[in-house]
Every structure is written in C-alpha cells, then in structure tokens.
Symmetry: C3
Subunit: 373 residues, 3 copies
C-alpha cells in the first residue's frame, strides 16, 4: 500500500560535522544506521543492529575504530566483521557480521548508499560543492519533519507557495508574474523562475541594503532523485548581471527516516558579505522560521489531513492539479519510474532493466550539474 523507498540511491546520512570519532545513530529509509569515524578520520556507516541479539551498537563503545556492542561486548571492525568475542573460548561465528554501507564524504556531507554496493557510483552524487567552496560561506542544519519526504519535495518544487506560507518574507508580485520553465536531463529536473524588473521580496530587499528599487529576481531549482534539491536564488539591479547583485545556493536535501518522518538538511551558501558572519546568522534565523515554523507545521497538517482521507500520500487521493504542479508532478513521475525497478528489496545487479534505466538516467548527465555561478 505504501510506496517502497528507492534503495539504489545516494542519501545524505549526516552533515560531515555531525559525525566524529564517536558513535552516532540515524534511521534512514526505516533502517537504523551507525555512523562514526575511524582514527584516520574516514567515516563509516554500518547497520546499527548487532547480529547477535539485535542490540543497538550505537549505545556501545568506539575503541580505536572498533565498535563494541553494549550488550555482550562483541566487537566489530570497520568492515563489519566480528573480530572479538569476549566469552568462553572466544570462537566467532562466521555469520557474525553487520552490514557495511557505501559512504562517501562530499560537499561537507556524508552520502550513504542503502542498496547494492556494486552499483554505488560516487560520480552520481549530485553536486553540492558550493557548500564547501570558500567563495560561498555556508550555514547549515537539519530539521526533522513528521511528513512523507515526497510531500516536502512537492513543497520545494512548487515555489508558488512562498508568497502564502512565507508571506511578507520571501514572496513578491514579481514572482507571481515571473516566467517559469521546467526542463529535465536524465533524472535531473530543473524548475526555474525568472522574475525580472520588480520589487524584491522583503527579506531580499533588506539583505540588499534596503535597496527599494526594481530588481531581477531568479529562483532556479535543481532536483535529483530521490530528493536532493539545490536552489540558486538571488536578486540583482534590474538589467544588471548576477555579479552586481546578491544570491545564495540553498540546499534542500530530504532523507526519509520512515514513511512519515523526514530529515530535512538545509544550507545557505551566500555570495555576499563573505567576511561578515552576521549575514550567515540572518539566513540561519530566516530558515529556522521559514522551514521550521512555517513549512513544517503546514506540511505536517497536510499529512494529518491525508490521514483523515485514509491516505498517506497525495497520490492516494483524487487531488485537483494546477499548471503550477508541473514541477512536483514530473519529479513524482521520475520516482514512480525508478520505483518500478529499484524497490525496497536490494535488486539483482544483473537486472538488465535496472542497468538500462540507470544508464539512461545518467545519459545526459555530464558529470556534475554545475550551479549557474
């Protein structure tokens, strides 16, 4: 009844700075994952489940890169093999292993692959390099939302909501009147709004020194499956090049915790006031309000309303569509297509349909998508 999560996909497991040489747990697509760093700093992701009694390893100890189970002290190395049984003759059953997940550190984030390791290609991690680019000082965080990740993705892929949900902050008449273009390249979607020669939304105007005069405003959203979004958004004096204005690259990456809970990784990498931390604080506060106090309660209420209609997702009800739903709808179609072959059971890597689909889906995908700097 509920839709399976994609397994052969990269998910963000954590911000790099969340994981140190200590045990850290996060539940990802319904599975409890243990994250830690080895003494050399390399990050590891393994199943948090001890194969012996299913105790959570994250409650144990990290001993020089070795994980000790909190219950009976079995120890596991960074390859997931049990290397020590403290009891009796110390014999170690050959099945005493815990799953290791491919984990890549990139763009100041830890990217986990929950499916077939043989298919985990780091080259398919979408480009969020702005997050670790000195030219764009970045603030970031993570918010837990009690809603299905695709409802949150819908929210982000249709930015016409900003005028209503974030009224008086991020909306403007120019956005409503702006041009909107959706393009697709492989499984990457672009939903771009170009809103020239209008007054900037209040928050942007304030950040641009209470400019007060007409600007060109752009909101360029890039989406990669399952739910990795980067918004290139800014203003510049009407008719002037981007460099005369200010902008941010805004990260919106959604990692499902379970069917109705989602980790929302956000970041804002700004082009301006690069030496003034208060400019970053302003974004931190704005995002805490906009995502945490405006989007979050609304999307959670939407989830509740769907529940009253006997559904967990908008797909399960007969909803009226608007032209502005084109973005969310295209993303959902890509997801539905991927779900056909990339299901909750790790697929056979020799499955030709899947291979073909993935080849196709990266066919037009020239390395990384470069933000339009």
């Amino acid at each position: 009844m509920s839709k399976p999560f994609l397994r052969n996909a990269w998910y963000v497991a954590a911000w790099s700075y969340e994981v140190e040489q200590a045990l850290f747990e996060r539940t990802i697509i319904g599975e409890s994952v243990l994250l830690f760093r080895k003494p050399d700093g390399n990050p590891i992701a393994m199943s948090n489940t001890c194969p012996h009694r299913f105790a959570p390893l994250a409650r144990g100890k990290l001993l020089d890169g070795i994980v000790e189970c909190p219950y009976h002290g079995l120890r596991f190395n960074a390859e997931g093999r049990c290397v020590y049984n403290p009891h009796g003759n110390g014999k170690i059953p050959s099945r005493a292993r815990t799953t290791i997940f491919p984990l890549i550190e990139a763009h100041d984030m830890l990217w986990i692959w929950m499916g077939d390791p043989a298919m985990a290609d780091p080259a398919t991690i979408p480009d969020f390099s702005c997050q670790s680019d000195d030219r764009f000082p970045t603030v970031s965080g993570v918010i837990e939302m009690h809603a299905n990740y695709e409802l949150i993705s819908d929210n982000l892929m249709d930015l016409t909501h900003v005028e209503f949900v974030h009224e008086g902050i991020l909306g403007s008449d120019a956005i409503k009147a702006g041009e909107h273009e959706i393009t697709q390249s492989g499984t990457t979607m672009y939903s771009n709004r170009w809103c020239p020669n209008g007054l900037a939304p209040p928050a942007w105007d304030a950040m641009f020194g209470n400019y007060g005069k007409p600007v060109d405003h752009w909101l360029y959203m890039r989406w990669d499956a399952p739910c990795h979004m980067l918004l290139d958004v800014g203003i510049t004096p009407a008719g002037k090049p981007r460099e005369d204005g200010i902008w941010i690259y805004g990260t919106d990456i959604l990692t499902p915790k379970d069917e109705t809970s989602t980790y929302y990784y956000w970041a804002a990498s700004r082009s301006y006031d690069v030496d003034d931390p208060s400019a970053g604080q302003l974004w931190e506060e704005a995002i805490t309000v906009a995502f945490g106090q405006q989007d979050k309660p609304l999307i959670e209420a939407q989830q509740h309303m769907l529940g009253l209609h006997g559904a967990t997702d908008i797909d399960g009800v007969d909803a009226v569509m608007l032209p502005t739903d084109a973005g969310p709808t295209r993303c959902r179609k890509i997801m539905d297509k991927l779900r056909e072959t990339n299901t909750s059971t790790p697929p056979d890597p020799r499955n030709p349909a899947l291979t073909e689909l993935l080849e196709k889906s990266t066919g037009n995908y020239t390395g990384r998508v470069t933000p339009v700097v």
Copy 2:
C-alpha cells in the same frame, strides 16, 4: 468491524458563539470541517480539505467571506467554488471545489448535515429552544471525551448511575425508589423518572435554599438520534406544581469526532434566579465536576476496558443486561435500524427504503418536541 456513523442526520458542529468571522475547525464523524461566518453573519460549513494539495483551509485566511488556502492561495467562496487562482494564467479547474455542508443555526447552535443535502430538513432538528429562551438563562460549554459517543449516550439514558458516579451530589434514595417510564415516538425516545415525596439530592436541596423537606423530583430525558438529549430535571415541594419549585433543561448533545472521541455539548437552562448569574456559575462548576471529572474518566476507563476485551463498543462483548438498561438498549436499537440504510456512504436520495424509513420515523413527530414547561 466498527459501526458506521449515520450520515443523514443533524449533528451539532459548534455553539453559535464559538464561530465568528474567522476560520474554525472541528472534526465531525471523522471529517475535518471548516466553520466560519460570512460578513452578513451567516455561518458556513465546508470541507476543511483544499482539493488541490489537501492542505487544511482553516490555517488560511478569511477575506470578506472568501477562504484563502494557506498553502498556494487558492480562494473559495461560501458555495465552495474556487474563485481565484493567483498563479500563471489564473485558470481555475472545474473540479476545484470543496464540499459545502447544510448548516442551520438554531437554538444557539450550529447544526450540520453530513449526508445527502437533498434530505436535510431543518424541521427535523430537535427542539432545544430553551437554550435561547429569555425565561431560562443558560450556561453552556463543550467537553472532549475520549470514548465512543454511544457509550456516553448509554450513560445519559440510564440515570441510575448518578447515585454512584455523582454520589453526594445528584443521587438520592427517592431516585432509586422512583417510577421509570420509557416511551417512544418515531425515533424520539423518552426515559422519564418520577420520584415523589423524598429528600432532594444534596445539590438540588442546596440550590432550593437548603429546603430540607420532602420534594417531588423529576428527571425526564428526551433522546433523538443520533445522540441529542434534553433532560428536564427539577424539584418542587411534595405535591405542589412545578412552578412552585426549580428546574433546569439540561442539554447533552454528543457529536462523534471519530470512533473513540466525542464532543460533548452541555448546557443548563434554569427556571429560577434568572437575574442572578451566580446561579448559572454554580451549574457551570457542578457540570465541570460531574461530567468532566466524574463521568469522563469513568467512561474513558470503560472504553479502555473494552479495548482489553478486543472491542470498541459494548455491543462487541457479551455484557449482562439489567432492567435499567432498557433506555440505552432502545436507543441502540433505533440506531442499529437507522444504520441499516443510513450508512457511511451518502445514500442515494431516491432510495425508497430510506425515504420510507425517514417518513416513518417522523410519522409521529409533531414538529418539535416541546419541553414540558
């Protein structure tokens, strides 16, 4: 497994004073309903679900009688039609409508019809005119109980519980010894207790100036499906007419929120001390204690006990019956009969069985049932 709610029935959606020119939500028989008043003061009930993304309209704005969705700003008029799409070319899909429910303001309450509008006859709203009658100053309120509405109805239709649940307040030896008569007229039930020539229950005696001498005590309960009760209860010196004593009309109207939650609308319209608000306060306090602190925890515990027996209602277990259960049992039989044709699916208005049943059920129903003033 669980019993469907009647749809072709009037439910109380709110007290009149709860709904102003502002958006107000209440969940009724499992559906989220939006209530508000138009600029002319007329109340409106519509589905709280925006047909676009299923956001709750109650979180939006009321603009001169028009409801604006909090998510993407679609606007709906009081007929439920989308009248404004702020995006793109502004085209409005013909399916962009939200359900309007028949809503009647009567007796200081808003009565909603959750079924087939063609069958909504205001003449079948039971008479609670005492609530808005200047001769009977009224205090009122609403309590949410976490129990099925029929368990609460059982409680009210068998007043032998008052001596035990409300011991020392509303019980008396005279009630136990009193005469009890149950009569039915259409789908209206009367359960009347006549308890002559005994000492009044402590609370009544206190309200009658610490009278201390024998009184005649009456408790006349009227019940209409699904669960609208009016209790005509009072005392008068033994052998004297009603007018020599004091009484109230006590409202007990139950509106199911869902299978195990109920809104309990209560009121007390008193015949005495009409210019003394403290007499009303006394009833407010007494009812807060009696219903909120005595009945509510007991009925919620009863619901929990039924759950341990794998049931949600007393119908689902093999309960022992007493003669004093005659009132609740008759009401439940009427409900079972109504459920046969009046199910959770809005019925075909041309369904002869239903029409016939409703005609029959109001055959002996001469307009409104008049409280015995």
Copy 3:
C-alpha cells in the same frame, strides 16, 4: 503472529505489601485484574471487568469485603457473585458474575493462576522462601519495562552481559574466565557460573569491606516457567566455604503486562549485616541503577530495533547464536513446548496431552527447589 501467553501457570500479581484492604488493579497477560484483601486479610483476585457495562471495578468501593462497581453500584462478593442490585426490584441476573482467579500468598508475594482453576496446584509455585526468611533481610520492588518478558528473561539467563551493561559494578575478569554449567530438572533450569580465585567485581568487593584479595565468586541462576528467576550470588575468600563470605538471593520475576510491557519484580535477600538496614539500602540503590537505568533502556532499545526489523521478539529474526546463549535458548525451548498445549485459550482440563506434559514437567520436581544455603 505474536506468541500466546501461558495461561496454566503461576504469575506474580503483586508483592504482598502492595495489596491491602483496598482496591488495586494490575494488568496481567493482557487482562485487567482487581486485587484486594478481605476483612480477614485473605487476598482476592477477580476480573476487574464489571459484567454489566465493563466498567473497571477498581474505581469502585470496597465495603467490608464486598466490591461495589463505580458505575451503577452492583456489588460482588469475594466469590465473584453479584449479591446486590440497587435498582428497581433488585433482581440479580444469574450471569452477573465476575471471574475469580486462584490466588496464593507465598514468599511475601501474591501468585495468580490465569488458567483453568482445576489445574492450579500451589505445590508448583517455585520456592522464593528466602524473601520471607528472617535470616535473609530482604529489600524489594517492582519496575515496569516496555519490552517483551522473554527478552528480559534472555538478559537474566545470560549473565555475560553484566560486564558490559553493568561495567565497573558487577563485572570481573573472573566471571569471563569462570566455569558455566546448565542443567535442567523438569521445567526448572539452572544456569550456574563458578568463578574461583579472582578479584571480586567492584560492587561486591566494596560490600565485603573493600576486601581487595582473591575470592571465589558464584552466580547460580534458577529459572522456572514462565519467567521466575532466583539468583544465588556471592563471594567468599578463595578456597573458603560460603559461610565465610557474603551473598544474596536475588529475585527476578517477570509478569507480562502485555506483549511489550512487563512488570519486573526484584528482591535482594542478603546473608550479611542482617541488623544494618543501610546494607539493604545499598542493594536497593544498586538495583535501581543496574536494572532501572542500565538494563531497562538497553532492552527497550533492543525491542525498538526488533520493531525496525518487523519483529516483536528475537525469535522473529535471523539472529546469530553464541555458546553463551545456551541458557536463554533452553528456557525458550521449554516455553515453546509449553505453548503447544498451554495456550491463550483456557485448556480443557481433560486434555490428556496437557496433563501428561504437566505431569512430566513436574516429574523430577521434588516439592520446592531449595536455594543452596
């Protein structure tokens, strides 16, 4: 899907001192049970469900050994028969009875039999007489854990966990190196650890006057179905008899509340400092920490992890076994065998398979199992 509880078995319903001449409720294997004492002090266990409206009798009154229902005042005697109906002609339906459960007071505890009364043999109550033996002053209590009772039993039947879960308190190198023997007698299991000539665990060393020198340490666990454990545990100077050292009899009795909640009755009956209550307080504090703050959160987390794997018990997943699981495994095998005939439906007492099994299971069971004093 979930495993049924044994019905033909003794469970601890409460400590003797928890039940006075007052109404007391406890939920046992999913059923709400009312406990009280008659005026003569004899304890009674009856179903907490009033057969009339399923109200919880425990909210009513105890009147000279008679229970009055809080709802409509039906009264039940200690045999479960309704003896008074305060209403109308006072007739009492013959079915107005509430179930009485066999209840035995022994070893300072109330033992309840939830199955066929004809099979309730007090001689099969396991011996916990140390709890009421003046030579062994006892401290005791009860902790509610949100985990299946068999997961807690596993914990106790494999004491290799103490070094990890109770590190720095109850673990030692000698325990790891000790001898371990498991024996079975009928449905009684013994899991004994003998750890000679090593340093005592820190807590034991402190209690033995900071002894600091090698001791012999023993941990002898006795288990009876469904989940009654007694641990004879202590230390004595290496090579010396038990009487030269100190020990306790530690009670660990588990009574399922429901599938994922358990009442954990604990006690410590000490052999030393019998006139010094502070020695008992020390055990009370140690157990509060060890069971309430170390075992409880870990086992509850294990229950949560099993839930993520779609299971409620370790039986439902493909867990890796170690030699040290022999104790828990044997207990689970006995339970599985008992469940075959002793199911959640009270069995027919004439069922030969059951009779035979029970006869067999007590074949080697010579009265009570005597702790090794």
